[in-house]
Symmetry: C2
Subunit: 193 residues, 2 copies
DNA sequence: AGGATTTTGTAACGAATGCTATAATTGCGC
DNA sequence: GCGCAATTATAGCATTCGTTACAAAATCCT
């Protein structure tokens, strides 16, 4: 029983996603956002609360959709397949022609300034959580026998994440999907067994 | 034949270096800089011209000193040694206890917003130049016979750079030198031969 | 239709940004 | 001692930042 909203929230979030992805959190001004969405500041604040609140929604969406697709690679049968699929999906996501290049989270993690800032801390936490899940998966693989007993699950997880972040920044500065797949192939040569 | 400067330029540049390193280019305000140096804005502009000009001096210094140390690894005898030394030196530089963690250039490259911005473009250009020198070195190694003929110099150079950028961001979010050395060891397992 | 409620538009807030005009200080050569 | 030139300090420039009062417009329920 009230006036109906004149813009679509989901569409607005997608527009904001592109902006944050391209320009980072601090690099995207409220004016950028309201212009892209096509609304005035009061509508923005009524709908989203604040710039930071909207960014969290954007980041949550990104994690739940695109990053989750990569993370689902942990369900592959063997450790080797997990690594291969994870890398391949990152390469795919970071060079999706329908999206800005690179990784939204990675772009904003560094662009957000120090990792001890509010948002920076959260992004670092997310990163470590992902690395932890990979490590756990490789430990399990070791128990199940499809990963050499001498391998180091922690080092493997860290290595994959490092290559992933490297690929994200490579993509952001213009690398093509073929370039990234090249790197994936190289990285897999380091895999034990 | 004039009033003598009350602060030391080199000391000021070093103070600015730490700030840019920690907070990125846009994350560091003029107020941050003048406060850290201990001067007022007019002195700052008289001495450095602008914030961007100072940043370029900072970046040049960084490249000529620290990054150059890593880059000197291309003078090693074999391709394998080049790769090993390059990675080791990056790991060392990015976790130097006397400096902020990570790579000044890498931190600012992403923090500077889009790679098509003025500074972003320059940082991207620097990155590609470094990768090009590595590629050339590996091509030479191939001709000299210490790198397998079937190897791909371009892929090798790209892989090293990717791991380097990944290590930089890993260090920035808290990874220790031991962590990075772990990654170096892993990456080297991918090396041909 | 009337009133309650939510969204919208206008306009502006205080604070911070990078930067500078003006003029007062300081030091050297003459 | 004096004038010239370089550096300094005070103060403020215009702009942009994220954010918000305030009131008009638009909807639904009674």
């Amino acid at each position: 029983m009230a006036r109906q909203r004149v813009f679509d929230i989901e569409t607005a979030i997608e527009a904001a996603t592109v902006l944050f992805w391209r320009q980072g959190y601090e690099g995207t001004s409220l004016s950028d956002l309201t212009t892209a969405i096509g609304i005035a500041p009061p509508s923005f604040y009524h709908a989203f609360g604040s710039k930071e609140a909207l960014f969290r929604r954007v980041l949550d969406r990104y994690r739940a959709s695109r990053l989750q697709y990569a993370e689902d690679a942990v369900n592959c049968a063997t450790a080797r397949e997990v690594a291969e699929q994870m890398l391949l999906r990152w390469a795919e996501l970071y060079t999706d022609p329908e999206c800005p290049p690179g990784c939204l989270a990675a772009n904003c993690a560094l662009a957000g300034g120090a990792p001890d800032s509010l948002l920076g801390g959260e992004l670092t936490r997310v990163r470590k959580a992902r690395q932890g899940r990979l490590r756990k998966r490789f430990k399990r693989a070791q128990q199940e026998g499809d990963l050499a007993a001498g391998a180091n699950p922690d080092a493997l997880a860290r290595f994959l994440m490092t290559v992933g972040w490297g690929m994200a920044s490579d993509a952001r500065s213009g690398a093509s999907r073929a370039d990234l797949l090249c790197t994936v192939e190289m990285a897999l040569k380091a895999w034990p067994g």
